[in-house]
């Protein structure tokens, strides 16, 4: 259910972007959410329509978020397989201890630190030349790489734990007794159990990436590079080169007190996205919990409810006072 909502939302976002390209202005029909939420975003200081910018940037942000999320999960999964399947228990526990040292390295600070030289436009002194250290594609590549690799250790040990916990189930033992090879156990028994959980992990990772994008945006490090104006007289504020959302946040956050609507618009969009991903994860979890007990679930819950109520409402009374009680000592 929730994932349907998300799919609808996401799909329509793309459609809006296409409309934007046609220079066709009738977006009211395409927008699935409240128009009152879309239009008071107004225009920014330079007169651009913020709504347009948000729509134009959406594809960069969402696609890159999903790409990073996927990469994270895949890399971590590849990392987790040998950790879970081929490492002895003791060694794995020790390794886990080591990997958990990454818990103490805050991601935003490190990401800001590493990405600053990559994304910030530099100034070459002779000739006042503005330049980037890397080409556009390389910048995006490095950003994705950094945001992926920094979480692989933690995520890897998390997924390894998932695999190990399903390795410990009884049916694995059964399969081994019947002569299944390691590969067969993995592909036929582990995968069906772990794969759905990976989807949930993927949604959570997407949320995390979105949050990091917000932070990076606040530090004016935009996805794909920050266009800094080094004009010594009247410098324009740093501009996002692609109009993606974190860039919009960085551009507009300072306008918070002048006109809250402008500043909060992009952040609200982030909020909606995060909520969508979260609902997706929750809906999927719900689906997993109930898929095998269709129909039975509802009656079971009702029964539980009934038992609970009966226990609370019934007054305490001695069994000996009830007619059907037989006291053995009596005889």
């Amino acid at each position: 259910m929730a994932s349907l909502i998300f799919a609808f939302f996401f799909d329509s976002t793309i459609r809006q972007v296409q409309i934007l390209y046609d220079d066709d202005m009738n977006m009211i029909g395409a927008a699935p959410f409240n128009p009152s939420l879309m239009f008071p975003m107004g225009t920014d200081a330079l007169g651009y329509d913020t709504t347009m910018k948000v729509l134009q940037g959406a594809k960069f942000t969402l696609i890159s978020v999903i790409a990073i999320g996927l990469l994270r999960v895949c890399t971590a999964f590849l990392f987790a397989i040998p950790l879970a399947m081929y490492t002895p228990d003791r060694l794995r526990k020790n390794l886990e201890q080591l990997l958990s040292s990454f818990y103490f390295v805050p991601l935003t600070i490190v990401a800001v630190f590493i990405l600053t030289p990559v994304l910030w436009e530099q100034l070459r002194m002779p000739g006042w030349e503005e330049y980037f250290l890397y080409s556009y594609k390389a910048r995006i590549g490095i950003e994705i790489l950094v945001l992926t690799l920094l979480v692989v250790p933690l995520l890897g040990s998390l997924i390894a734990n998932l695999i190990v916990s399903s390795l410990k189930e009884d049916f694995i033992e059964g399969a081994k007794v019947l002569g299944a090879s390691k590969w067969r156990v993995f592909s036929k028994h582990i995968m069906p159990h772990v794969l759905p959980k990976l989807v949930i992990v993927f949604c959570q990772q997407c949320v995390q990436v979105l949050v990091i994008f917000i932070h990076l945006g606040y530090f004016k490090l935009f996805f794909g590079g920050t266009d800094v104006d080094y004009n010594p007289y009247e410098a324009d504020p740093p501009l996002s080169t692609t109009n993606e959302w974190s860039g919009l946040i960085g551009d507009y956050y300072n306008l918070l007190h002048a006109n809250p609507a402008i500043a909060l618009g992009p952040i609200f969009m982030f909020g909606i996205c995060i909520y969508a991903f979260q609902l997706m994860a929750e809906g999927f979890q719900h689906h997993l919990d109930t898929r095998n007990v269709m129909g039975m679930k509802r009656s079971k819950i009702k029964q539980d409810d009934f038992a609970e109520r009966a226990r609370i409402n019934m007054k305490f009374e001695f069994l000996s006072k009830r007619g059907d009680y037989i006291d053995k000592n009596f005889y």
């Binding site: 390295v105 600070i109 630190f113």
Partner: protein, 285 residues
């Protein structure tokens, strides 16, 4: 003893990873691996002689260790204050929530899912705007919205900002875990014995959920340290991340991160040690 050795090793590895990470911009800037190793070596040597480290304050070189203590403890106050308040509120409210009927609990959980997805920057912005709005309407300034300089200290606003989201995370996690725990058999037994629901909740269930909450709190903290940086910059607070951000050298980053990591590490080590001892004792019994 074995645990102590393990923890020490972990601490050293944390330091090592911080130092390795702090050299990375050099690698990216020069596209040259040997420069990276040079830098890592330099940072490492700098870390060993921390008392000689200097930084630039308004163009003047000043010793790092002399100046760092005050903002360091200020930051720690904000961080721990926020964590502590969030945790306590969440715990008390969880007890309250678990006494409510099922349908109300479901509503609360849905609201929490929504609150969970609020971006942190939005929360900060709303708090800031809310204070200004109250001031405009009533003339009552709840608290300063921004600190004016190194001497000026504000506590209420940054702590509120920092605690809101962790509070929501803790609250939701606690409700989920406690509900799962409530379905177990020992709870039914004790309820059947005639113990009060609240009593069972506080003295039996909470103790059993505490280990899970502890592990969860690690990732909350991870998230809070990142937020500390944002809060300190938004509210112009001169805490430790202020130094980190304004002097963005690898040495500075490594030193500040190590400083930030140490207290957390000690606290987690202490809790882990208690949990291990506690669970071992129960096994022996």
């Amino acid at each position: 003893m074995k645990i102590a050795k393990k923890l020490l090793l972990q601490l050293l590895l944390t330091f090592l990873s911080i130092i390795l990470i702090s050299g990375l911009p050099e690698l990216i800037m020069n596209k040259n691996a040997s420069a990276y190793f040079e830098k890592v070596k330099a940072v490492f040597i700098e870390m060993l002689s921390l008392h000689e480290m200097t930084y630039l304050n308004q163009g003047i070189k000043r010793p790092f260790l002399e100046d760092i203590w005050e903002p360091y403890f200020y930051s720690l106050t904000i961080l721990f204050g926020a964590l502590f308040i969030a945790f306590c509120f969440a715990q008390v409210l969880t007890w309250g929530t678990l006494m409510l009927p099922n349908f109300l609990r479901k509503i609360i959980k849905n609201i929490l899912t929504f609150l969970e997805s609020l971006p942190d920057l939005l929360v900060f912005a709303l708090v800031q705007m809310g204070i200004v709005l109250i001031y405009k309407k009533t003339g009552v300034l709840g608290s300063n919205v921004a600190s004016l300089g190194a001497e000026d200290r504000i506590y209420i606003v940054p702590i509120t900002c920092l605690m809101l989201l962790p509070f929501v995370y803790f609250y939701k996690m606690m409700i989920l875990m406690t509900e799962e725990e409530m379905g177990k058999q020992y709870v039914e037994t004790s309820l059947a014995k005639g113990m009060k629901r609240l009593y069972v909740l506080i003295f039996h269930v909470t103790r059993n959920t505490s280990e899970g909450i502890f592990h969860f709190s690690k990732s909350v903290l991870w998230f809070m340290i990142s937020n500390l940086l944002l809060v300190e910059i938004i509210f112009n607070i001169h805490g430790i991340t202020h130094y980190m951000y304004h002097d963005f050298r690898p040495e500075m980053l490594a030193a500040c991160l190590i400083f930030l990591v140490i207290p957390f590490f000690l606290i987690f080590a202490f809790f882990e040690w208690t949990i291990i001892r506690y669970s071992k004792r129960s096994e022996a019994l």
